[in-house]
Amino acid sequence: MDLSIIEQLITFITLPFQSFLTIEILLIFIILYIFILYNERRQNKKVKIILTSLIIFFFSLLVFYFSEDMMTVLSEITKTIMRSFYFPNIIFYILSAIISLVLLIYTLFKEKLTKLNKIITYTFTILHLFLFTIFISNAITNNLSLTNTANIYQHDNMFVIVLFSNIIFILLIIYKVIYHFCYIRHEKLKNK
């Protein structure tokens, strides 16, 4: 942790040569890389399928050998997602409000968007920003320190506000992603 930049670089460069296993892993990845590059010119479908199967096989082996650790990692990831959904850090919450605000302003000034899309975006973003404002005003009235997450969530009102804000924000993002994909597909079909 206390390495200088040069030491960090040296460690990074020598990393693949520290043991026979790491050299083997390096070789496997170099061969894979060369094959992928070479196949870009040939565009052979069989090679593509074989390469994909090889990559999947390689990672399946890793999962098989480290299955218990993988489960721990997966459970930790799920926990982190749940934590940021139910009890998000204040920075994450502020970030989501900023994204909502940007989306609202973008929708206001973008003329190409359909009316329905605009109405849906306005509804979600305004609701989200409304809840965010309530959250801030509640924090000020209750004299809450926003730096400590537990301090915020010991109040049921705050917990409910953040929970519903997150649900609205996730719905907004899901809607935007689906709309984006549908729009791209629709445009492609139109051009055809």
Binding site: S75, K79, R83, Y86, N151, Y153, Q154
Partner: protein, 216 residues
């Protein structure tokens, strides 16, 4: 004809996709519930710590509505737990098995094996000199199996109990099994403050295991 075939294929794909999603949701619902409970538990403990640090007092439990829980099954208990609002008066932690769980006061309605780690009626609180603090919980795979990893403990492992803004440290000195008869005999040194943990024996339907910790 070809178009019709394509339509049928597309419909089948949609139905298959729908069932796949439903299957995934059903398959992952139980572990997800457990993880959700762990996340909520973390937050409850964080709030408990916060109150202990800022006020330096024991928090009395709140919301003691009429709620009969002794005969309830796990599912109803889980459902009720979501509605329940209770505060911990202390916390048991065993670092070896990553166990950190709060407990409520003996008088609380939530001092019940279907909600929390439970303080036995016969138990003394940790601040009683030479007392025996007895905690019980389920083991296994259920939502309320707070002592599911206790079987991994070995003699010499340490545990601590935070209570009344004081931390009491203990070391595991004895593990023994007894048949499930409705009562448990506790064999301990009465001149040393003790922490006793009781749970069902791992992979055994007929016995229960008693873990005796002595204060360090």
């Amino acid at each position: 004809m070809q178009r019709k075939n394509k339509n049928i294929k597309s419909q089948l794909f949609k139905v298959g996709f729908f069932f796949l999603i439903v299957g995934v949701i059903i398959f992952f619902s139980t572990p997800m519930k457990k993880i959700k409970e762990e996340v909520f538990e973390e937050m409850r403990l964080a709030i408990f710590q916060l109150n202990i640090n800022s006020e330096n007092i024991t928090i009395s439990d709140v919301n003691t509505e009429n709620l009969e829980v002794t005969q309830e099954n796990t599912e109803i208990a889980e459902e009720n737990d979501k509605k329940a609002t209770y505060s911990y008066i202390g916390q048991l932690s065993i670092p070896t098995i990553n166990l950190k769980r709060g407990f409520v006061s003996k008088e609380s309605r939530y001092n019940n094996i279907n909600y929390n780690i439970t303080i036995a009626n016969e138990a003394d609180y940790p601040d009683v000199p030479m007392g025996n603090f007895i905690l019980m919980a389920h083991s296994g795979n259920a939502y309320i199996s707070f002592f599911d990893k206790l079987y991994k403990l070995q003699i010499g492992d340490e545990a601590s109990v935070s209570y009344n803004a004081t931390t009491y440290n203990y070391r595991l000195t004895k593990i023994y099994n007894q048949a499930k008869t409705g009562t448990v005999a506790i064999y301990r040194n009465p001149t040393i403050k003790t922490l006793t943990l009781i749970t069902c024996t791992h992979n055994d339907d007929y016995n229960q295991t008693i873990y005796i910790f002595e204060e360090i």
